[in-house]
């Protein structure tokens, strides 16, 4: 039972598993069925009302170092309540994470917190681990981007779209500003920009989570036509009823029901696995995995499947993809925790976690962590074995298959 593993049954202590996302961070221990905490990836300082985002790629190293240090400190001493020095760390991260972010993060862990070892695990591979299958097409709809990726990592075949939760927020915010009215003490029916300059981000997020949904394909198509149809002949389906959303207690925001946006269509158009080798396409299209918080919007999966199926009929994709069957997996966790769960499963494998992680001694000797895009790192010896098929568990894939 995983529950009793940590009680000195001869093994080392359970590893800490952290999934640092752009919007939310999932943290917990290896071998457990879910993260202990899902907290927003930001730090609140006493002076300023705005919180500082932790995952930023454009700030300079010193500032990033101090922000990450503070955030990891909070993670360890407020949420996980363990000593950093005792436990190995598994960080589930996206492949697209810039090297300097990864290096700053490992410097925070090794130099400041003195953890014994760190393992960077690709989030898509980890999500496939939760299913027990060998390969899959993983789509991660997160906050900043949507990334599509293969298991048994074929690194040349990924696509990313800068369309995630953040884009939805922006679109929603602009639509709200244009179309909604506000009731305040001074009078009903005021338009939004006159009262408050901008709706804060967490309010927009709340509105999105609680009131928005993804409508199905036919309805979506009709709305699309109605939008672009200038002579007004196409009909919009009747919009869902309005919502009264209380802002700050005094103000009530009337949200019109007719807000909708066509971003789902864009997401689906890149979905078709054109870039993979032909023999894998059938297998991949039958093993779709969707992770990421944005995919938890009600109706998302159904709409995604129907869009894919309708797109495959179009001539552009019909030749590329011979198969017509698409199947979606449901991993044993919520989509926003799936990658974390994979990291937790991997972190529970104490036999090999040590050999696959970057240890503190190695880091102190070389001063950096191995990266998949960096060729100067010496390969581990196991790669030199001729004729050996790599096992499905890999730290970084140096796949020679194309």
């Amino acid at each position: 039972m995983p529950l009793f593993e940590g009680l000195g049954s001869g093994g080392e202590k359970t590893a800490v598993v952290i999934d640092l996302g752009a919007a939310y961070t999932k943290c917990g221990f290896a071998g457990e069925t879910g993260p202990r905490f899902i907290i927003p990836s930001e730090i609140k300082h006493a002076g300023s009302p705005e919180a500082v985002r932790v995952v930023q790629y454009n700030i300079n190293t010193e500032e990033l170092y101090s922000i990450l240090k503070e955030f990891v400190h909070l993670l360890y001493f407020r949420h996980l309540l363990v000593n950093p020095r005792d436990r190995r760390v598994v960080i589930v991260e996206s492949i697209l994470c810039p090297s300097h972010f990864r290096e700053t993060l490992s410097r925070v862990f090794f130099k400041h917190f003195e953890v014994p070892s760190v393992l960077f695990a690709p989030s898509h591979l980890m999500s496939v681990m939760t299913l027990g299958i060998q390969s899959a097409l993983v789509m991660d709809c997160g906050y900043t981007e949507t990334l599509i990726y293969e298991g048994i990592p074929i690194l040349s075949a990924w696509e990313a779209l800068p369309m995630g939760g953040k884009a939805i927020h922006k679109e929603l915010h602009s639509l709200l500003s244009e179309q909604c009215t506000l009731d305040t003490d001074s009078g009903p029916g005021l338009s939004l920009p006159t009262v408050i300059s901008a709706i804060p981000e967490d309010v927009v997020e709340d509105i999105k989570v609680r009131t928005c949904f993804v409508s199905d394909l036919q309805r979506g198509m009709k709305i699309q036509e109605a939008k672009f149809n200038l002579d007004g002949s196409a009909e919009r389906p009747a919009p869902p009823p309005d919502v009264e959303y209380p802002l700050d207690g005094r103000k009530i925001l009337h949200i019109k029901g007719s807000i909708s946006f066509p971003s789902i269509h864009f997401v689906c158009s890149v979905f078709v696995p054109r870039q993979c080798p032909i023999d894998t396409r059938k297998v991949l299209s039958e093993n779709l995995v969707i992770i990421g918080g944005t995919s938890m919007l009600p109706g998302f999966l159904h709409r995604l499947l129907s869009e894919i199926r309708s797109l495959v009929e179009k001539p552009k994709y019909r030749d590329a993809l011979a198969t017509k069957s698409f199947r979606i997996h449901s991993p044993p966790a919520k989509p926003n925790c799936t990658a974390w769960l994979g990291g937790a499963i991997f972190g529970a494998l104490q036999d090999i976690l040590g050999s696959r992680s970057v240890s503190r001694d190695y880091y102190n000797q070389t001063g950096r962590i191995p990266d998949w895009c960096c060729l100067s790192t010496p390969l581990p010896d196991s790669v030199y074995e001729a004729g050996k098929t790599p096992p499905p568990l890999m730290k970084r894939a140096f796949s020679t298959e194309k």
Partner: protein, 428 residues
């Protein structure tokens, strides 16, 4: 000195990994290294766990078992306040005589802030005040455990192979493929009789092993996903019924969308931290075990061991354009040690120090005031004075080694600190 209202007037420079300037009240002094330490250059450790509402200490083994949550206290799933147990009387039939009814006590959880009760989510009232409430279990637990076992088996194989390869490498005269096939492999086989060697190619479970083999079914993908219910388009949204994102994320396993499925969770513990110097590994601060006590077992804060600079009366001379220059007294100033009893002694005798009235303003027990002339060299702006303060420090609390003379003396070390005072803006 850092007070509540003037936080950062006097800053000390700490040389850790980076140079940072911190008021003395936030610094520690390691008396083994004889250096100032800030919070950045000490290592933090978790000392003890306790529940913030019932203030009960929890030993770390139990905390690990209970996933750092208190056994008795609950959090309201709506507003995160602590739940209180309330009792009501309900009529219940007597066990002996079904016709008669007596009043029995039934307990339920209620929130004093947002008026949420456990009856709102359908949790039945319990007959015991504490210990009856259970958190719901994750439905995927079994599948995840099976997956972990399966992968652990694969991991064991990989480890075996790795070890075998290490042994094989120690015989460089044999080509590698050869030894794996014949030399070492057979030896190992002889040692572990009954355990056939698994094939080297691939870690799949196709070869039969007599040991307990764990297979799992790979997950089945679904063709159809359930569509959005039709009434989403027509039903008005009842906002109080829909959970906010924050409420959902408090229960990561379930993340319910409806407020009627929000179950309370046990309260998360807090911890007390102990601080340790990174260089000499001695404890700088160790709190007491008891959660209600604010004292420390070890407390090497800089304010107690070093002295503080505070309060200023300055005479400003002239304005010249350049950096600010400071004229400090050239002689050493003598200060008597801290005597705790003398604080209460109002009629303190003069202690016989001969003070130059130009340098020393006043002297009282272990406090001294002296003049510094500051010449600001810019016409406006804030004046910041930086100087080095050198003083001797006697480590009275160091372990007394019995010397041959039988005397317990400790040497005085001279310490130098770089201090910055911000004197405020110039009056125009």
């Amino acid at each position: 000195m850092a007070t509540l209202l003037q936080p950062e007037k006097v800053l000390y420079l700490v040389r850790g990994e980076k140079k940072i300037r911190v008021p003395l009240s936030q610094l520690y002094f390691c008396r083994y290294c004889s250096e100032l330490r800030s919070l950045e250059c000490v290592s933090h450790e978790v000392d003890s766990h306790f529940c913030p509402s019932c203030l009960e200490n929890m030993p770390s083994a139990e905390a690990k078992l209970k996933k750092n949550r208190c056994a008795n206290c609950f959090d309201c799933p709506c507003c995160m306040h602590t739940l209180s147990t309330r009792a009501t009387n309900i009529p219940a039939p007597l066990p002996d005589d079904p016709t008669k009814t007596t009043m029995k006590k039934a307990y339920y959880l209620a929130c004093g802030f947002c008026r949420w009760t456990s009856r709102d989510v359908g949790m039945a009232d319990k007959s015991v005040a504490s210990g009856g409430w259970q958190e719901p279990e994750n439905p995927h637990t079994q599948r995840i455990n099976k997956l972990i076992e399966y992968y652990q088996q694969l991991a064991q194989r990989e480890k075996l192979e790795r070890d075998r390869k290490k042994l094989a490498r120690r015989r460089p005269f044999m080509p590698q493929a050869f030894s794996e096939k014949y030399g070492l492999g057979t030896r190992l086989q002889r040692q572990r009789s009954g355990a056939p060697i698994s094939a080297l190619y691939g870690l799949s479970l196709k070869e039969g092993e007599d040991q307990k083999e764990i297979t799992i079914e790979p997950a089945q993908a679904l063709d159809e996903v359930e569509p959005l219910p039709e009434d989403y388009y027509t039903r008005p949204v009842n906002l109080p019924e829909v959970t906010t994102l924050r409420q959902r994320l408090l229960q990561p396993d379930f993340q319910p969308a409806g407020a009627s499925q929000l179950h309370p969770r046990h309260k998360h513990l807090l911890m007390k931290r102990s601080l340790r110097c990174r260089k000499c590994e001695h404890n700088l601060s160790k709190p007491e075990f008891n959660p209600t006590s604010i004292k420390f077992k070890i407390q090497l804060v800089a304010v107690q061991t070093l002295f503080t600079l505070s309060g200023l009366t300055i005479t400003v001379l002239q304005c010249v354009l350049a950096l600010c220059c400071v004229l400090v007294p050239s002689k050493e100033l003598v200060l008597s040690g801290k005597d705790a009893a003398a604080e209460y002694d109002e009629l303190a005798e003069p202690q016989g120090f001969q003070d130059d009235p130009d340098v020393v303003a006043f002297r009282k027990s272990n406090k001294i005031g002296f003049f510094i002339k500051v010449v600001p060299q810019r016409e406006e702006g804030d004046v910041t004075v930086a100087f080095k303060l050198r003083h001797d420090f006697r480590n009275l609390a160091a372990p007394i080694r019995p010397t041959e003379e039988g005397e317990a003396t400790s040497e005085a070390i001279w310490l130098t600190h770089h201090v910055e005072l911000s004197l405020g803006p110039l009056a125009t």
